[in-house]
Subunit: 567 residues, 2 copies
């Protein structure tokens, strides 16, 4: 039976960085070649990064991407890797428009090209806005085996390219992906890959992107299964990884080409005959997905690390209030960047409690981050005195003086500012615009308050226990007026998160929530807050997305709106 050694190159690309991504493909193809691989598969749009958003529409970018692809093919051959068939995603553009494309590079040439067919247009995806759909399938014969290609969404949809490949006949299917991390999504991937392998009647090699890109984080979790669904390889999540797998396949697939199932199938032959039999090199890695809290923590760490580094920063600064949100953000930053690159600032006001300072200071001691205290009383006094501010206006000035302080330290020392708000606060607008909302990145923007607590407890159960126990157990307070508690303005967080989960994630309306047993006054209060907070949410910095309906890129409500749910 024909054999093939195939490498799953789970790499971390950067959008727009054609040179950097080409260098990455070159390096990992070298490694695959060094491991004796005959085929190496990279993630979706590896050469351009994913998602390129409006760059997809720029002609000069598409030209640069296709030029870069042909250069890369030559560079691979020059580096002695020409005999490896490298499957590399990129942005193409033809007379119809921009294309989400994949190419096979071999022997210095681009030997096959295929465009994505199913263009997802929901959630974080806007591909029907950016790309034209492909109707062709290039099947490449590698060492006597017919290899088909399907791009990401093409395996998430019934029918289409995978069914056509099954009809046309292939021995093997490879699939470059850029499938963002989502809580609980991993439960779907393996069964899906198995179903598609069965549909194609061939093994399926699914290679996913890893790393952070703005508010998305890709978890890797690349998978290979046999035609019968046997799990052959599964890469670890949230790290770059090269998995090398030996396949021993029946070969001899039927070889229909031309029009099949609505697609034009073209056969390209790199090597007509199978390889001489060789000795397979051991067992490939079969990783287990992480447990839920470990997985979320890893997503947040990687999302933060890549946002900071890919934007050219080395260090971050954040306010430490002694509360749970800033403590978790600091712990994430220390895990992502090392304590030596994290600067915490305690900014007490006249209303700050003693424990706000002692808990912040304890956090600094536990983690080893840089710590300083900058009282804001003098700043606040000038504004309130000169402008005659009282009540809410006075509360907000405190938060804003902290924002100006952090941005001043950022501008002076080059740190990126982290905003420490959580998803629950953002949902109901419980934050001060230009105050605690200041920053370049918001690590826990998509983490509900009750999950913040769970993550803190989980992280403390691991090495170092960075978070002061008192930050976890004390009642949350903004400390903007004497004796203030969050519960003065908000429902209990467990109840609030339940309503928000149903309203935001579950898309349930007022009537559904009443039917679910929530008190009408509670629903009314929460929904009014959520519906009125769109402007604040839009002004919040990006943060790592871990749910389907995160606030930010994939959820867009009108600012000006007369709609009030339940009225």
């Amino acid at each position: 039976m024909p054999q093939l050694r195939i490498a799953l190159a789970q790499v971390n690309t950067t959008v727009g960085d054609l040179d950097g991504n080409a260098a990455l493909v070159l390096e990992w193809t070298r490694r695959a070649h060094g491991a004796g691989a005959h085929v190496v598969v990279f993630p979706e749009m590896a050469l351009t990064g994913y998602p390129v958003e409006d760059l997809a529409l720029r002609r000069s970018f598409a030209t640069a991407a296709t030029t870069s692809l042909t250069t890369l093919a030559r560079q691979l051959a020059e580096a002695g890797c020409g005999e490896v068939a490298a499957v590399v995603g990129y942005l193409d553009r033809d007379e119809v428009g921009p294309r989400n494309a994949v190419a096979v590079l071999h022997d210095g040439q681009v030997v096959a090209t295929q465009f994505k067919h199913h263009l997802p247009n929901y959630g974080v995806f806007d591909e029907r806005r950016y790309f034209e759909s492909g109707q062709t399938l290039d099947v490449v014969r590698v060492h006597g085996l017919e290899m088909g290609m399907v791009i990401c969404e093409d395996i998430w949809q019934e029918g289409g390219p995978i069914a056509a490949l099954g009809q046309a006949g292939v021995d093997l299917v490879v699939s470059p992906n850029a499938s963002p991390y989502e809580r609980d999504k991993d439960d779907q991937r393996l069964p899906l890959v198995r179903r598609r392998a069965a549909e194609a009647g061939a093994p399926l090699v699914y290679v996913n992107l890893v790393g952070g890109q703005d508010d998305l984080v890709f978890d890797g979790d690349s998978i290979a299964v046999g035609a019968d669904g046997t799990l052959l390889a599964r890469s670890p999540q949230f790290v770059e990884h090269l998995s090398v797998l030996d396949l021993d396949l029946p070969g001899g697939a039927a070889r229909t080409d031309g029009e099949v199932g609505g697609f034009t199938v073209t056969r390209r032959t790199l090597h007509e005959e199978p390889l001489a039999r060789y000795e397979p090199t051991g067992e490939p890695v079969v990783s287990q997905p992480l447990d839920e809290l470990a997985e979320v923590w890893s997503a947040l760490v990687v999302g933060l690390r890549d946002y900071v580094r890919k934007n050219g920063f080395r260090s971050v600064v954040l306010g430490l209030s002694g509360g749970i949100d800033s403590a978790v953000c600091a712990a994430l930053a220390v895990d992502a960047l090392g304590a030596e690159n994290v600067y915490g600032v305690s900014m007490p006001s006249v209303y700050s409690s003693d424990h706000s300072r002692s808990d912040a200071s304890e956090l600094a001691e536990r983690t080893g981050l840089h710590y300083e205290v900058q009282p804001i009383a003098d700043m606040v006094a000038v504004f309130t005195g000169q402008l005659g501010l009282t009540g809410l206006a006075e509360e907000n000035v405190q938060a804003r003086c902290r924002g100006v302080t952090l941005m001043g330290l950022s501008n002076q020392h080059g740190h990126l500012v982290l905003a420490t708000g959580n998803k629950t606060e953002l949902a109901v607008g419980y934050s001060t615009i230009y105050g605690d909302a200041v920053g370049g990145f918001a690590p826990i923007k998509d983490v509900p308050k009750t999950l913040v607590w769970k993550l803190a407890e989980w992280r403390n159960s691991q090495a170092d226990a960075p978070i002061p126990p008192n930050s976890i157990t004390k009642p949350p307070s903004a400390e903007l007026r004497p004796g203030q508690l969050d519960t003065d303005s908000l429902p209990d967080y467990h109840l609030l998160d339940s309503v928000l989960e149903d309203y935001v994630e579950g898309d349930r309306g007022y009537a559904d929530l009443v039917a679910a047993g929530f008190a009408p006054e509670l629903i009314d209060k929460v929904l009014r807050m959520v519906d009125a907070a769109e402007y604040k949410r839009r002004q919040y910095p990006p943060g790592t997305k871990i749910t389907f309906r995160a606030f930010g890129r994939d959820r867009r409500l009108p600012i000006t709106s007369g709609w009030r749910e339940g009225k």
Copy 2:
């Protein structure tokens, strides 16, 4: 020949405000009925407002919209308007998904329903994300005339519904629209409407939305043409308007139904026979579109007024620097809201020139707006002294102390803060995040600097001449350090705007710009600034869009990006 009196109801709806929009439809149908109209046509999605964005995906909103529609049909009949056929756009939802829909309400019932076919997915439009495409055409017989309906984009595309109606046979086509204002776009509308009337072989009545919705402004400019292209009516721009038009038509269109041109055509009869002949009531209005600068000024005034009022504010506050941008914003605000609702604050620093104060004060005198002076020296001194800020960090603190001051006054007195930056600054990132970028709305966000000057001169040539001549003629300066001028950091604004026009609006790349004769160093400098400023632009408040590629909703570049044009 059959006659018909048709009313073009160019109204100003609010997204999500089902009750308010239904009341608007009721009131304007009453007015149309009072004028003897047999048919009244409202803009696209009049009942829900446009664009509803993610509200389109909420089931509870779709349910509320369809319930509201049937209630409205009954209310119209109860108000004695049941005999008028009211063409009302709304959000529908069926087993396939959400629909951009239009209904005919008559005699207390919803008597016809049709879904939009061509779903625009470019520029400000995301309709392929939100709606499913319709394949049916309801043709309604009104007083012996066959009336077809096409929604907005359905007349911008060749073929499709309008061609099918032409084949099926109609005496008249009505078209509800939500077509945003764009500079120079009005040149396209009349010829387009004429082409489509010819294609349908029938008169076409095009009714457009008017008013501001977040960053969009709709200019009205509703049009009616005869089958031969004769302009019958044209409504004035930027105001609500009821145009009543008598048609005297041949009638007797062929009446094919069933499958026509890919659509299922259904005939519905309200009145089989024509009306008894009646006396037409005079000439309908045929307005001329405004001149370019008057048109842009009107768009900015209406966009600002509706954003402020529809968001529940009555007054605005803005910083007055003595410069041209804040002077133009103040003049717009006074035109939009009246001087009594505009609060200007001069916030001099130690680096502020004498003319910054005298020009601001002169502006206040010329316009009659509320004026106060709040020096920022004491605020700035605390931050720079305590935090040891120098250079750019010190410059930014000045802008941020102004931001905190304006937000403090906003919170204390309930004014909406206006950010006064222009499109040129935004493009190159020449602004301070959380400083001059603070605000709820940015009136001239999409106005290039050179156009700001032209608008100022134009406005001063009209009544009252609100803007101090010295604000127009003096060289622009941020005044954040001694003797600073914009030209220290930026190219000459005329040159800069030329490059930006080509790069942003024209989608030209580095090589195209070189070919156009710009100096490579200039292009390189400008493009680097533009490519690096995405984060700042995302944090800027919304502002009225007047070009195709405004920064904000319809232009989305990655923040994390290795792409540098021309490298």
